[in-house]
Structures are given as C-alpha cells and as structure tokens.
Amino acid sequence: MYNARMTSLHIRINISERLLLVLSGIILIVSSTSCSLDWETNVESGNRDGVLHYGNGDEPQEIDPHLTTGIPEFSIQLALFEGVVSKHPSDLSIQPGVAESWEISEDQLTYTFHFRDNALWSNGDPVTAHDFVYSWERALRPELGSLYSYMFTYIRNADKFFKGEIDDFNEVGIKALDARILQVQLKSATPFFLQLLDHHSYYPVHPATIEKFGGMIKRGSQWSRPGNFVGNGSFVLKEWKLNRILTVEKSPTYWDRDTVKLNEIRFYPISNRSTEERMFRAGQLHLTNRVPNEKIAWYRKNDPESLNITAYLGTYFYRFNSKVVPLGDARVRKALSMSINRPQIVEHVTKGGQLPAYTFTPPNTDGFTSEAHVKYDIEGARKLLAEAGFPDGKGFPKLEIIYNTDESHRMVAIAIQQMWKKALNIDVSLANQDWQVYLENESQGNYQISRAAWIGDYLDANNFLDMWLSNGGNNRTGWSNQEYDANIAAAAKTPDKQERFRLFQKNEQILIDESPVMPIYTYTRVFLISPSLKGWDENILDQHPYKHAYLQSDEQ
C-alpha cells in the first residue's frame, strides 16, 4: 500500500513534468510571438505606405463588370474601371470620365461624347469609342447572361437586340463616330441617363483581352485574373487569392494618375461582422463594411470618431400580396401601414440611425421628396379596418410575415407583429425562410406579407417608382394601377424636371392611398472608418471614387 502510494506520487510528478513541458512549450510559442508585441498594425504601416485596408463583406463572385450584381464586386470595380463619365465624391454630380466633354441634343435624345486623348488601358492601349461599342454589345448579348441588361433599356433598340428581335447591333443607338467620339441615341428623353453611365454595367472591357480569353460571350473566362487583367481605372489588379485578399495597385497609365494618392488597396472578404469589428479594433482594417448591431451603441459612446452613419439610397419595406384575402382590399393594407410606430422600430430595434420611412422613395433623391406620406394614426387605422369588415380585428384571418433568416429581420417582424396586435387586435405569425426559398416564394406570389428591400442603382426617383408598374419584374405584389403606369410612362418622356417631379408626386400619393407596400425605414450605411482615412466623403450612394482618398495619420 505504502509502495503503491509512493509510485503514484512518482508518476504524478512524472506526468506533471510532462504537462509542464507541454505547457511551457505553448508559453514559449506564445511568448516568442509576443516578442512582436509592438508589431506594426496594418493601419500604421498602411498610413505610412499609402495602402488602404478595406473590409469588403464577401468574396467577389467575379470582377468582370458585366457579370456581377453585388456591392462587394462594385467596390472593387470602381477602382479597376472608369465609365464615360464619373461622379463627384460628395455631391455625386456628373464629372468627366473617359469623356472629357459631351453634348446633348435639344430633344435630349442624342448624346455625343468626346474622349480624352490620354485615356489609356492598363496595357498602354488608348481607350476608344469602339471599345465602348464592343463592351456595351457584350453587356447586351443574352448569351453572356448579364443581369443588369435592363440598365440599357433607355437606348434605342437595345431591348430589341437583347430580346433577339434584331440581330444587327448597328441598329442599336450606340455608335463610334471615330475613335474618340461616341454617340448614343435614346428611345425617349431620359433625364438620368448620365447617372447610369457610371454604373458597372456600362464600364468598358478591353476587346483584345476579351477575345484572347474566349470571346465576347464567354462566361467565366480567365481574362479577369491577375496577369491577364486589363482595365482602364485608376487602379489595376495586382493579386487575387480566393477568400483571402484581392489587391489593386495604382495604375501607371491612368490619365489622372497625379490625383491618385493611394498606392494600393487591399480588399478583404470578411463576411462575419463581429470578426470584422475585432479586426478593426486591432488595427487590421481602415474601413469595415458593416458594424454588428449590438456594437453601435458602444461606438457611439466610446469611439464616435470611428463610427460612420450616413443616409443610404435604400428602403426597407413589406410587400402585401394583393392577390390574397383580405389584403386585396386597399383599406386593410392602408390600415396595416398606418398602425406601425416607425420611430420606435428604428430607435429600439434596428438602432443604426435609420430614418423612419413614410414614403417609398427615400427623401431628397436627386432633389425629389414626396409630399404624400403615411400617417401614424391608430384610430384612423381601426376605422378603416372596421369599414373593411373587421371591427376590432374580429374575423380577421391570421396572416403570415415571411422574411429571410436574419436576426434583425426577425426583430423588426416581432415588433410589427406586436404593434398590429395592440393597435388593431389582429394576429400574424412569423416565418423565417432560407434566402433562396424566400426568393422563390416571393417571386411566385406564394406569400401574404413579405419583408423586402430596395437599394437604388442610380440617383433618381424613377429607380424606386418604376418598380410598381403592373408588369414590373420586381413588383411581385399582384397590385396594379393604370393611372400609376401612365404617370411613369409620361415621366419617362418628359425632359422637364419639375413636370417629372409632379408626376412622381402623384404616384407617391397613389402608393399611400393604395398601400401595396408598407415602407418601414430608409437605410443607413453604418461602418467603422479609421480617422486616418481622408477624402472619404459621405454620400447617399456610399460610392467613393478612390482617386480622391488618401491616408494621413494625425501624428504626421
């Protein structure tokens, strides 16, 4: 017994020693790396070398400007390409791009662009009008499968070419009069046409490179890989490691290279908000894509300098399916929309500085602000519901709100569920669905109430209002109104801004009266930004031409 206890003690020491060895090994590794306790953070080295470290949300699907639809992709394309025109970094007014000047005919149907002679591709070739004709034909070829072909719908015969009704691209209103003059003819006056030209679907691609890697309509060609890539933007692709990093460096051939101050931008595909926030806190990023909701209050209080909240051209709303009972009744839809307390939702649920939305088009969209708006009026809502045959919510069928799986959508839905119960005494249930299931159900009209969002592609109220055309692909509510359709058609033919706005005002009023959708809030972009990043002006599209950005730490 005595002996056994002794050996047990012996082995305990023995094993403890081994454990100690392992532990000290671990400590050794840790301490060897902590020699670099004072290592330079990305932000510090970036400030010194002019390298911007950019948290960019997701891994880009592709950087070919005619194949992508996402914002992470666009953030990169904005560095790699330049359109015929570009935008001012803060007021978003139209600025020269590849074209140094342009004329618009009196009837506003013909645009003639004069290209600058020093616009070059990154391989040294001049950027010509012919390159744009080639690129826009490519974007319009259905075989390529560009999801943004509808951006070209304003150009004469573009739709017909896309639908295969005409085969000859010469019949489309896009012509190169010579290497440096591009002429575009429109179907009808389109006051926001110049706005579109800065969208990635209108960016040019280098024809010889496209042809070298499989031709105009080849999807998934290798032309956009480092080494193959040719672009005309202020930066050029340097490296792209899947799911790791995409780096662009200052282009030596860009015409306005003297304005460009950054030497490199490194885009990190970080899909997890919390990870991104921790990386920012540790000085690994200058800029994040988002901020976790629960962290916003902390930054507001402790580090307001790093927190950026700006209004964003997007509306968070619910669709009502007009094909189902009782949502076919405009009174019911209006009652539902009138009885939610929007300020409470943005203050207590979303908490990201969002603005309560009482109209569908965000306020001050290129000068347009709707005069009509939803009133928060519980009594009025109860009256409307009673008129529709549901006094005090009696006999109201149980409806369901669908939303794609996401914590913040769930919270908003719960808040609305409770508001309706309290105000109208009606019950709704909630159903979260996988993104694809949700999309399928919504597009098939297989829902009653569904969460939705719309982010503007260009700065014009038309981009929001033409969604609710009777045959609009994005309508999906089953609602239609002839007067509404006629107003949109009339606005599209009206060059006069005030007259267009008058037509839009009418439509906003129809949207309030009939309430096919219930606007909830206007989006904000909430992100973290290092104080050393300058020239990053706030704007409603959250679009930042990189040539104006620079890094300057306060110590310098």
Binding site: A4, T7, S8, H10, I11, I15, R18, L19, I29, V30, T33, S34, S36, L37, W39, E59, Q61, E62, D64, T69, P142, E143, L144, G145, S146, L147, S149, Y150, F162, G164, R219, G220, S221, Q222, S224, K241, L242, N243, R244, Y268, S271, N272, S274, T275, R278, M279, R281, A282, Q284, D434, W435, Q436, V437, L439, E440, S443, A453, G472, G473, N474
Partner: protein
C-alpha cells in the same frame, strides 16, 4: 489485412454513389436555383444561363452527365464564382483546412490524453475532478463562444496574438488551432480516462504491478496501448468532423479554408460546389474511418487475430 482493406475500399464506391445521388436529388428538390436573385432575372438571361450549365436538360440526363464528368475527374465550374472550377476552389481551401485540422488534433491529443491519464490514475479525487470538469466545460462551450472569448483576452486585451488571419502575421495560427483543438481535447480527455480506467483494473495490470513495475512503466508500456482504443476509434469521425466542421472557426478567424464553402455553397444553390465538397468530405470520412479501424485492429491483438482468421 490487405483483403480487409481492399474490401472496404470496394464498399466505398457504392457508398459514394449513394451520397452523390441523394445530394443531387436534394439540391435539385430545394426551392430556388443558382441564378435566382432579388432583382428579377430576365427570362432571356435565365434561358441562356440554364442552357450554358445544362440545367435545361431533364434531371436524369443532368445526373448522368455529372456522373460521367466526375468519373473523369471533372467536377465542373462553380455557379457562383464564375470562372473558377470546383477543383480550383477545393484545392485553394483544402491545404488550409488540413493544416488547421492537424494543429487542432495535435493540441487535442496532447491535452486530452494527458488530462485523461491524470484523471484515471486517481479516480474520484481532485486530480480527477479538476481536469474532468475542465473537459466538461470544453464540451459544453461551443467554438463560437470560446473563439471570440480567446480573441478578446489574448488579442485585444493582452495584444499577444493577432485577432485573425492564417499565415499573414506570425502567430495568427495559434488562436484558431487552440479554439478548434480545445473542443476535441475535452472529448479525448473523457474517452482516455474511461479507456484507462477499464484497462487499469484488468488482471494483466495487476500482474505487472505484482512484478514491481513502476506506475510510469505500467501506464506507458502496458496500459496506454489498450486504454487508448476508445480514443483511436474516436479519431476517425473526429478528424472528419474537425475538417468538415471547421466552418465556425474559419469564420471567426477569417481563415480561407474549405469549411465555409460547405455551408455557403448550399445557401447559394451552387450545385456543383455543393456536390464537389460533399464528395470530398464523404471520401475523407471513408478514409479516416478505415484508418481508424486499421489502427484499432493493430492495437488490439484479439481483433487482429480474428481479422486474420476470417481472412
């Protein structure tokens, strides 16, 4: 033994076929498709895309085309990441996931086995309770809690280690490996304690004690081999789970491994990538289970004899 291995490898073929068939059927039955988007997709485009990826063929034709291609080693292009083949994506993520898995399993084995032996030597004493309650905490604490917690302490407060990355800054591999390793160390600790306790109570150990061998000799020369059997049989599924389940750790630490494709591809309805990763992980699981069985047989003389006599 060779016959045993050959037989098991042959069995793997129908298993993989079944896995492919079920996965194929499930992903095509799921609502939505790789090209559905929030913005309405023009019918002309949808038609062109479906034609390009053979999605307009009848489903059984698609299935046989796919099988034929797979048999030739072609897993097709990814639907979401245009221009990247499934093989390219797997090849980019696999070494990272393997490396992470290797470090994690080493940490798990070293910590787990040490704690398990320690506990089994003096059952129901503090020497047992402390490591075992630590192990229980490890089992209960999910990686998505432990990971951010470790980052907070070691990266943000103490500033000893980087918050994220994989091979970008020296030391950035430590926290993810520890996070993933701890969860498995806990299981291994409990398994090795159980295995050791059982062996230590057997007659041959008593004989060894009676011969006057030291406890160290008994543990390392006699008991460990038998006591580790539960750990070894756990290693097959553990390795597979470690590799396919590294998604959470990869996300927390921003690691460009395979785990995220396994999950993201399903959300994106990236049919070829779902199938590719599923086949890849199924093959791994089959191989690891086979290896674990071989080691188990090798460790246990009774099984070894029976497998020989059967053959």
């Amino acid at each position: 033994m060779i016959k045993f291995i050959a037989l098991r490898l042959l069995q793997a073929i129908p298993v993989l076929l079944i896995v492919i068939t079920i996965t194929f059927a499930l992903i095509h039955a799921a609502p939505g498709g790789p090209f559905s988007a929030e913005r309405a997709v023009p019918p002309e485009v949808l038609e062109a895309l479906n034609a390009q990826y053979n999605l307009d063929d009848p489903i059984h034709v698609q299935f046989f085309i796919y099988l034929k291609n797979v048999a030739q080693g072609d897993f097709g292009p990814s639907f979401k990441y245009t221009g990247r083949s499934v093989i390219e994506i797997i090849a980019a993520g696999m070494p990272v996931t393997f490396e992470l898995g290797l470090y994690a399993i080493l940490i798990a084995l070293i910590l787990g086995i040490s704690a398990g032996i320690l506990a089994s030597l003096k059952p129901n004493s503090l020497q047992d309770y402390i490591p075992m309650s630590l192990a229980m905490t490890g089992i209960c604490l999910p990686t998505f809690v432990l990971g951010p917690l470790m980052v907070l302490v070691f990266a943000i407060w103490l500033e000893w280690l980087p918050v994220s990355g994989w091979g970008y800054i020296p030391g950035d591999k430590i926290l993810p490996s520890l996070t993933l390793g701890f969860a498995y160390a806990a299981y291994i600790a409990r398994l090795s304690r159980g295995g050791m306790l059982e062996i230590l109570s057997q007659d041959f150990i008593r004989t060894a004690r009676a011969k006057g061998l030291s406890t160290a000799a008994i543990v390392f020369r006699h008991a460990l081999r038998g006591g580790m059997q539960p750990v070894v049989s756990f290693m097959g599924p553990a390795l597979a789970g470690l590799l396919s389940g590294s998604f959470v750790v990869e996300t927390i630490f921003q690691i460009p491994g395979m785990g995220r494709y396994f999950v993201q591809a399903a959300f994106n309805r990236d049919y070829t990538l779902i199938l590719g990763t599923t086949i890849f992980f199924a093959t791994l699981i089959i191989i690891f289970n086979l290896l674990a069985d071989i080691v188990t047989i090798w460790l246990n003389p009774r099984l070894r004899d029976s497998s020989n006599s059967n053959n």
